[in-house]
């Protein structure tokens, strides 16, 4: 089930639903000046991430968090306004991370 259909099925406001990491094994990071690389033991895949997706993924790694919270916190971290344009950008990143099976909604919420 995709993230969007899970939101629709649950009847929860999409941006308030929580995101968590897929699996419990910790990610392996290679953090460099611009682009970063992350290894996800759960899928065995390696991903090349630019700064903003890295920031989003590291935030989800800390604890369960909603898209709205991610938008707000990353806007503050980057010193930009948490406006529609920003939220559109972050939502796209969140969708990409979910499609890569790095993050998901908590299993109980989906069920």
């Amino acid at each position: 089930m995709s993230a969007d259909s899970a939101d629709a099925a649950s009847g929860v406001e999409p941006n308030s639903q929580l995101w968590v990491m897929v699996g419990t094994a910790p990610l392996h990071w290679a953090l460099w000046a611009r682009d970063n690389v992350v290894y996800h033991p759960e899928t065995g895949e390696t991903h090349l991430l630019s700064e903003l997706p890295t920031l989003v993924l590291q935030r989800v790694q800390t604890d369960a968090v909603s898209t709205a919270q991610i938008c707000s916190e990353t806007a503050t971290a980057c010193g930009v306004a948490d406006d529609d344009a920003w939220r559109g950008k972050i939502e796209a990143i969140v969708r990409s991370l979910a499609n890569l099976e790095l993050i998901e909604h908590p299993r109980a919420a989906i069920a």
Partner: protein, 304 residues
């Protein structure tokens, strides 16, 4: 005619059909009835390491004659590794390249105690240069030329990265020069005498092997510290273009280049990340061997 045990032993020593060789970290038992293959093995790798004891052997390989009905008109050679026959038969006069490719197959499919990069690797002053590349990029030509220019040859094919120490393990073997590269290295001057016979029209074109320098073979157990990673690409007529590579790009290219990165999982990721962080990384397009060699001689020192 029956031979005494002593006479039989002497005959085997003159031209043993089976022998054990040390190739870098691997002990290989090679068996073949083909005299020309045995002669080329000895020419490339020197005397057998042991031919009577029973040490632990990593790979048992055989080059056998093909089926009887082919032996008159189009004789064939078959490569076997233990119980496997990974390739279709080759023409018998391509038996030595078949053996070399077979050994590559054994290593690539089994030596997972290393992160295996598909790369030429050389060392100078204790610092190793890694040349990862796709086929046709000029890697073997460049590796051969460097090995004839004062660099120690670690390998033309495998960058064997020790997962525990992050050091590179030598595997000095014959360098298969292909097509125009054969004459390029022959005319290079210093290596002409070390190029073996040309095998025309193999599956990879004309192939001739440059045997590994004796000094590299003598130091085949001496590990080397990675210092530089250069992704070479030969483009006919191109001026030299040497560009620094961001670590993330170097990481991505190397992960796609390694034989067993995905198989090693997190251990492979950690090893590759540490390697990238210790090395300076470049891409290098070149159309002229001499200018490329000069550029590699001037590489700045590795990161500390």
């Amino acid at each position: 005619m029956r031979q005494t045990p002593a006479a039989d032993h002497a005959a085997r020593r003159r031209s043993p059909s089976r022998a054990i060789y040390r190739l870098g970290p691997f002990t290989v038992h090679i068996e073949t009835p083909l005299r020309e293959v045995r002669r080329l093995i000895a020419w490339c790798y020197g005397d057998a390491w042991i031919d009577s004891a029973d040490p632990i052997v990593h790979f048992h390989v055989r080059i056998e004659r093909g089926p009887l009905h082919r032996r008159v008109l189009a004789p064939q050679a078959i490569f076997r590794a233990d119980t496997e026959t990974p390739f279709a038969p080759f023409p018998q006069d391509h038996a030595f390249p078949l053996l070399e490719w077979g050994l590559n197959w054994c290593i690539a499919t089994r030596a997972h105690q290393y992160l295996m990069l598909h790369a030429g690797v050389l060392e100078r002053d204790g610092q190793a240069l890694i040349l990862p590349a796709l086929p046709g990029s000029g890697k073997s030509t460049l590796t051969a030329a460097l090995s004839l220019s004062g660099w120690r040859l670690l390998s033309d094919e495998f960058g064997l990265l020790d997962l525990r120490t992050g050091m590179l393990q030598p595997l000095p073997r014959a360098i298969p020069l292909k097509n125009a590269s054969i004459d390029v290295i022959r005319s290079f001057g210093r290596g002409a005498a070390d190029i073996g016979p040309t095998f025309p029209k193999t599956r990879k074109g004309d192939v001739a092997h440059l045997r590994p320098p004796a000094a590299s073979r003598r130091r085949q157990h001496e590990l080397a510290r990675p210092a530089w990673i250069v992704f070479p690409r030969y483009i006919a007529g191109s001026p030299l273009r040497l560009g620094a590579l961001p670590p993330s790009v170097a990481f991505t290219r190397l992960s796609q280049n390694a034989f067993n990165y995905r198989l090693l999982g997190a251990a492979g990721f950690e090893a590759l990340r540490d390697l990238i962080e210790r090395c300076r990384c470049w891409s290098a397009d070149f159309g002229d061997l001499d200018s490329m060699l000069r550029a590699l001689e001037r590489l700045p020192p590795a990161q500390t």
